[in-house]
Structures are given as C-alpha cells and as structure tokens.
C-alpha cells in the first residue's frame, strides 16, 4: 500500500467532464486515528492521506473530512459559467461533491 500526502494548495479548476470523474474512481475510507485527516483510494491501489485544503487532482480541494463522508469542492471558472448560462443551464459558482465512506456505501452481511 502506497501512502502519500498530497500537497496543500488552493486552485480553481475547470469543470470536469462527468466521464472523466467516473473514469477515475475516488473512494473514501474514513478518518485517520487522529481525526483531522482521512484516507482516500485512487486508481491502481493508491492510497493517500488528505485533510481540509488538500487538492486531489481531477477532483478539487477537500472541504470536509467527516465520519461518514468526504467533501471536495471545485470552483467553476468564469468561462465555464458563461458557457452554462449561454446554454440556458444553471451556472453555479462551486461544485461540491459528497463521497460517502466506502464501507457505508456497500455494507454487507
């Protein structure tokens, strides 16, 4: 198991295509024992410890590390918002993604 800590940074990223998000699954495995960070799993068995403010490439910045879910955010660029508006679509400022804890997603017996 490879453990890395992603570099803390604040960036605004363009809106990602939904297919891109699905192609790179992100799983959340809950908080670390200290409670301030949490574990995420990315493709090819990569595990990372993340905290509030960590940027997850392709996903956005971590906003909350919770007991039951991880929340990441990405701000839309003005260009992206303009494009949405021109098409009569809802142009929001921030996309906030809730990622349920993996064991709660697929409980089993």
């Amino acid at each position: 198991m490879k453990r890395c800590t992603l570099i803390l940074a604040l960036v605004a990223v363009a809106v990602l295509a939904a297919s891109a998000l699905y192609a790179q699954p992100l799983r959340y495995w809950g908080k670390t024992p200290g409670g301030q960070t949490g574990w995420i799993e990315m493709p090819q068995g990569q595990y990372f410890e993340v905290g509030v403010g960590t940027v997850i490439p392709g996903w956005g910045r971590v906003k909350e590390v919770g007991d039951f879910h991880l929340i990441v955010e990405q701000a839309l660029t003005e260009h992206a918002k303009d494009q949405l508006q021109q098409q009569g679509l809802m142009a929001y400022d921030v996309l906030r993604i809730r990622i349920p804890r993996e064991d709660l997603r697929r409980p089993h017996r």
Binding site: L95, R106, H108
Partner: protein, 684 residues
C-alpha cells in the same frame, strides 16, 4: 377678499384635477421606492422566500427577470400612476371610513385609502388590492408551468408594493389631514414634507424601523374594509376618543393626523390636534447662520419632543392674516425622524402579515415521503407523497378548514442522474402539482397522502427537489388567506439490495462459485471441487445462496430498527438469488437514515440454511441540489460508483461467507453484471 381668492383657486384646482393631470401624490416616487426598499429589508420576507417557498436567493431571486425586491419597490412607485389613482390615497381618521377620503370644498372625490386597498374594482391603473395579491399568490404557488408561476409571483410582489404605498402615504400628514396639495410641475401647492423627503433620501435610508403592535390586527373588523390590514392605517380609536397617542397600537394615519401638520393645516380648526396648547414656544439659534428662530415644540398631547412648526422670520413684516407659522427644514427633519420609521416598519408589518401563514411539514409515520419502482433509464415517477402537516402560524390557533395542494419543485436534468449525477441542470424549474384536497388544519400534525397523477407525477430523475404545501381558506380574521409551508427534501434515492453470492473467497483468492460446472455443490468424496486445499475437509467456499421472503424497511436513525415484515415494509422480494438485485427509489428528508433488512429463509446450494436473519445499516441521503452559501451558488452532488455494471450510491450486499469481504474489491468488475428483479411496494 382672501377667502374668495382661496375659493376660486380651489375651484380651479378641482376642475384641473378632473381634466388635467395634477400631482397630489404622497411621498414623491423615489422616496416611496426607498421606504419600500427599507421595508422589505426590515420584514421577514427573505427568510420566508428561502425556507417556505424554495427561493434560492430569497428577496433577490429573479422573478420574470427581475428580483423580488425590485417588483415591490416598483409597485410602490406605480401606485401613483395614472394620476387619477392618487385621489384614493387619502384617509382622515377623524371621520368614518366611508367619509374619510379626499374632500374638496366639502365634496368627497376619492375613496378612503383604507377602503381602496381592499377594493376589488380598482380598474384604472390595474387591480392591485389585497384580494388581487392573494389571488396572484395562490396562482403562482400552484402553477404547473414556470411561466405561469413567474407571472403570478411578479403580480403578487408588485401588488404588495402598491399596498405598502398606501401605508406610506398615511405617514404623510397631508394625506391624513385632507390637504390636497395639488400641483403641476412644481407649480401650485406642493407639499413641503414630500419635497423634503425626496431631497433627503439619506434620512430615509438611515432611518430605523418601528413596527406596529400586532394586537391591532386582532381588532374587530369594519365591513367597509374587513381585512385586518385596514387597522395598520386606522384602528378607529382616535375617532372615538379624540385623544392623540404616540404608541404603536394605533394606525399610522391616527399618528400622523393627531401629532403633525401639513402645510395648509397648521393649527387648522378642522382638526382637534395638534393645538396651540400642545406645544411650547422656544427660541433657538440657527447653528449655521447664527440667526434666532422660534419654534413650537410639541410637549404634550401624544408624541412629544420635536419641532412642530416654526414662526416665520418675516412675521413682523407680513400683513395679517398672512400665515406666520410654517414648516421649515428643521421641522421637517424632526417630522422625518418620527414618521419615516413608522412608514418603514408599518410597511414591513403588512408584508409580514401577508406571509404570516405557516404550515409545518414532517415525515409520515412510515418515514419516507415517497416510494417508486425503478424504471429502466430512470424513467419512473412518484405518483403519491405522504407526509404530515400542521398549522404553525403564530397566534392563529383556530382549526382551519380549507383546500390543500402539494407542489414539488425540481429541475429536469440533461441525463440520467443515477448514471451521471453531474448531468447539467436547466436554469428553469419544473413543477409537479398534486390534486387538491379539503382538510381542516389544526395545531396537531395530520398525516395526508397527496396524489400526483400523470402528467403531474414527480420524476425519479430529478434534482434540486423542494416540497411546498399550499393552503387556501380562512385564517383568523382573514376569510380567504393563503398559507405555505416548505421542506427541502433530499433527492430521489435509489436504494439497492443485491445477492452477490455467486462469488466466495478462499485465502484471498476470488472463487466463482456461481459456475456450477467448475464448482458443483460439495458432496464428500464424490464432488470435492470445493475442497480447494484438498485437505479432505470441505467445502472451503460457499454459495450461491437463494433467499426467500425478503423485506426492507427504512427508519429514522433516532429510533431503533424496526422488524420488517409482511405488514411493515417499503420493499418486498418473494425470492432472490445471485447475481440479482432490487432497486427501490425513495424520497425522504434526512441527511442519513437507517435500513432494516429481514430474510425469512436462505439456502446454500449444498443444503446449508438459515432463517429469520435481521440486519440494520446506515445510508446517507442523496444530494443533487443547489443552494446559496456566503453569497456563492453551490451545486452539491452525492457521488455514485460502479459495481458489477450497476451505477449506485449505496448498495447492500449479501455475501457468501465471512471470508468474502477480503475479496470484495476484486469483484467490482467481475462478471456477470448484476440483474435487476422487480420488487413489491406496499399498497398506498
């Protein structure tokens, strides 16, 4: 001589008013807009719009392209247009309401503003009575198309602007002391307080807000204007007592009439107060010019502590009977200090009264608001919603018999949200409107079922879901009120429940026990393929299992798990084997909830059995919604994942054995894909 001149001028003015547009407005237009702006901010409107009606941006939410706030301020400006409406903007609280309108030479030429605000036949300039506002509000709330809704709300808010204009005019002494102040382009008899207000908008903007005592809305009604808002202008107490008051339990017209002057009614014998004995004459030095000025300062009979009038500096030079008492800027400043807060606060009070009705919504006894079968492509719909409602209007205890309609507001995504939760959402909302039902609302919760037949069913493929309930009927002293309650529901939630016992795990190796050729049922010494380590003891792997009599029941986490059964379930499966799953789509209002599962019997291929198995798990609610936080518009989405071809957000798995969890990650893309079987929903 003078009296003849006055009569002639008045006659000319009267004739002019009949044939030529004149100005006799209350505050000038910008002053009305600013007072209305402050009134909206002082009211609860923003909170009501967000919490009860699902308006994302509250008072700045665009309606027909313009913010709610703008419709109201514009309405308050437009009430003076066309000019003929202005004659109905007067109310003399010393007279009965049917005689209290504008009078010229003893002839009443306008309806009292108290009656005008409730007159269903306004016609010229449009119908903008309280009844029109109520009708437009109900139309908007129950419209099934966005365009009808937008139009209805625009009319509602603009009409409310018209109504608060009447209250603001009643804060102007000219409008409550029958001072017509007729003028045209500034020529004639403009009212100095109006002019001063227009030039000193800063005084209005920085003014405080004084709300009326809510008890005035509970006074006995007058059949000429039976809606209690009439008492915001006139409680009829001053007319009976002839005692000037300064409290907030009187109408604004009674306050401005009894405590202030207009230009042409200073110490007028037509009005009992203020009188000479209500004030003391003092001398002040003008801080700018050093000049000595003399003022009547109000010291008794109602409101006190302000300049009531000034004595003209030219009084020694003006021949009698030219008036020597006037209203200068310092007097008007003091008037504004006392009258603007009431104009603002009483206007806010009318807005709060309009939106006072509150319905509280709560989940039903079964927990979920709606249950629906999943249809391929996420094309299913909720045709019934069940929930509890009660009358939560402050100070209105009486049971309310009326009509109730449920409306679900949502956005239709461009794509299947269960496959792609990030699908684009339209800017325009969609609405599902239930069939109406007649109900008596009380303080206690009543559980109701609302029908949403096609084409008004609520699609399971929906984002940004908000539930409102609209009541129309009597509320307190108002015979035809409209109440609204709102609840922000979590989005349609696909609950998935699968049997994946076609795989098992042995020492970290995934085994496809569903392949009956490779792994037939274990029979000692005869069929030992399942003795994987060939130690003579088996089977080392189990499955598939076939289950019978399965029941699923949701519950709030604040309560212990229930026992799902034939009489208490949200989904029932007669039987299930691998790799089958069932999907239930539900609507609920909690960030997380419980799922209780019961299996009557399960049998493994080699004959192992268990009975009456119970388990409870926790699931998160599904979000796909928009909301404003710290001025930013946020779209919140719950992530979906993929498992054996199924796009899911939460999925309960029945595994072959206790060893299987170790191999579970290896099955994410394992064939075959899960196969959906239909479940049975409870009868509604």
């Amino acid at each position: 001589m003078r009296s003849a001149l006055v009569v002639m001028l008045t006659l000319c003015a009267l004739l002019q008013s009949l044939f030529v547009p004149t100005r006799a407005e209350g505050f000038d237009l910008r002053a009305h807009e600013v007072i209305s702006f402050r009134a909206v901010l002082a009211s609860r409107l923003d909170q009501v719009l967000r919490e009860q009606m699902g308006f994302l941006r509250g008072r700045t939410e665009p309606v027909n392209g313009r913010p709610v706030l703008t419709w109201i301020t514009e309405g308050s400006r437009l009430e003076d247009s066309p000019i003929f409406r202005v004659r109905h903007h007067f109310h003399n609280p010393t007279l009965p309401w049917d005689q209290a309108g504008l009078r010229v030479l003893g002839v009443q030429i306008g309806e009292s503003s108290v009656i005008w605000g409730q007159d269903r036949g306004q016609v010229i300039g449009g119908n903008h009575s309280w009844h029109d506002a109520r009708a437009a509000f109900f139309r908007a709330l129950t419209a099934s198309t966005n365009s009808e809704r937008q139009q209805g709300f625009a009319e509602t808010f603009q009409t409310l602007g018209h109504l608060i204009h009447l209250i603001q005019d009643a804060a102007s002494p000219a409008h409550t002391r029958n001072d017509a102040h007729l003028s045209y382009s500034g020529i004639g008899d403009p009212d100095s307080f109006h002019t001063w207000a227009e030039l000193n908008l800063g005084a209005i903007l920085s003014s405080s807000s004084t709300q009326f005592d809510p008890s005035i809305l509970a006074l006995s009604t007058n059949s000429l204007a039976p809606i209690p808002i009439a008492h915001i202008i006139d409680t009829e107490r001053y007319r009976q007592t002839r005692i000037p008051e300064a409290g907030t339990n009187i109408g604004i017209a009674e306050y401005s009439n009894a405590n202030f002057f207009s230009d042409d009614t200073i110490f007028s014998p037509d009005f009992p107060f203020p009188r000479i004995s209500s004030a003391d004459l003092i001398t002040e030095r003008d801080s700018k010019t050093g000049e000595l000025r003399r003022y009547f300062v109000k010291t008794r009979d109602g409101e006190v502590g302000y300049r009531l009038a000034t004595i003209s500096a030219l009084f020694k030079f003006l021949p009698a009977p030219i008036p020597v008492v006037a209203l200068d800027d310092f007097v008007l400043q003091d008037y504004g200090r006392l009258l603007f807060p009431r104009a603002i606060g009483y206007s806010a009070g009318l807005l709060d009264y309009f939106f006072r009705g509150r319905i509280e919504i709560a989940p039903p006894a079964r927990f979920v608001y709606g249950l629906a079968q999943f249809v391929e492509g996420n094309a299913g719909a909720f045709t019934k919603l069940r929930f509890k409602v009660r009358n939560a209007t402050p100070n209105e205890e009486t049971p309310l018999p009326g009509q109730l309609i449920a409306v679900v507001q949502y956005r239709k995504p461009f794509g299947n949200l269960f496959e792609n939760p990030f699908a684009d959402l339209p800017a325009a909302l969609s609405f599902a409107v239930s069939l109406p039902q007649t109900v008596t609302l009380t303080r206690d919760f009543t559980e109701l079922t609302f029908d949403f037949p096609d084409p008004n069913a609520i699609p399971t493929n929906a984002a940004d879901v908000f539930l409102t309930v609209v009541y129309r009927g009597p509320l307190g002293l108002e015979a035809d009120a409209v109440l609204v309650g709102g609840k922000d529901l979590f989005e349609p939630d696909p609950v998935d429940w699968a049997n994946v016992t076609d795989y098992d795990c042995f020492q970290g190796t995934l085994v496809n026990v569903g392949n009956s050729t490779l792994f037939p049922p274990f029979v000692p010494r005869l069929q030992t393929q399942r003795d994987l380590n060939q130690d003579g003891f088996g089977p080392d792997v189990l499955g598939p299992w076939t289950e019978r009599g399965l029941f699923l029941k949701t519950f709030p986490l604040s309560q212990p798990p229930p026992d799902p059964s034939l009489t208490d379930f949200d989904l029932q499966l007669p039987a299930r084997t691998a790799p089958q799953y069932a999907r239930l789509v539900l609507l609920q209002d909690q960030p997380a909830y419980g799922l209780a599962l019961f299996t009557t019997a399960a049998q493994e291929v080699s004959g192992l059995q268990f009975f009456n198995d119970r388990v409870a798990v926790r699931f998160d609610g599904v979000s796909n919604r928009l909301f404003v936080e710290n001025g930013e518009l946020i779209r919140e989405v719950t992530l979906f994942d993929l498992y054996r071809g199924l796009s899911f957000t939460h999925l309960h798995l029945f595994l072959s054995s206790d060893a299987m969890p170790a191999c579970l990650p290896q099955t994410v893309t394992a064939p075959p894909a899960l196969m959906r079987i239909p479940g049975i929903l409870p009868a509604e």
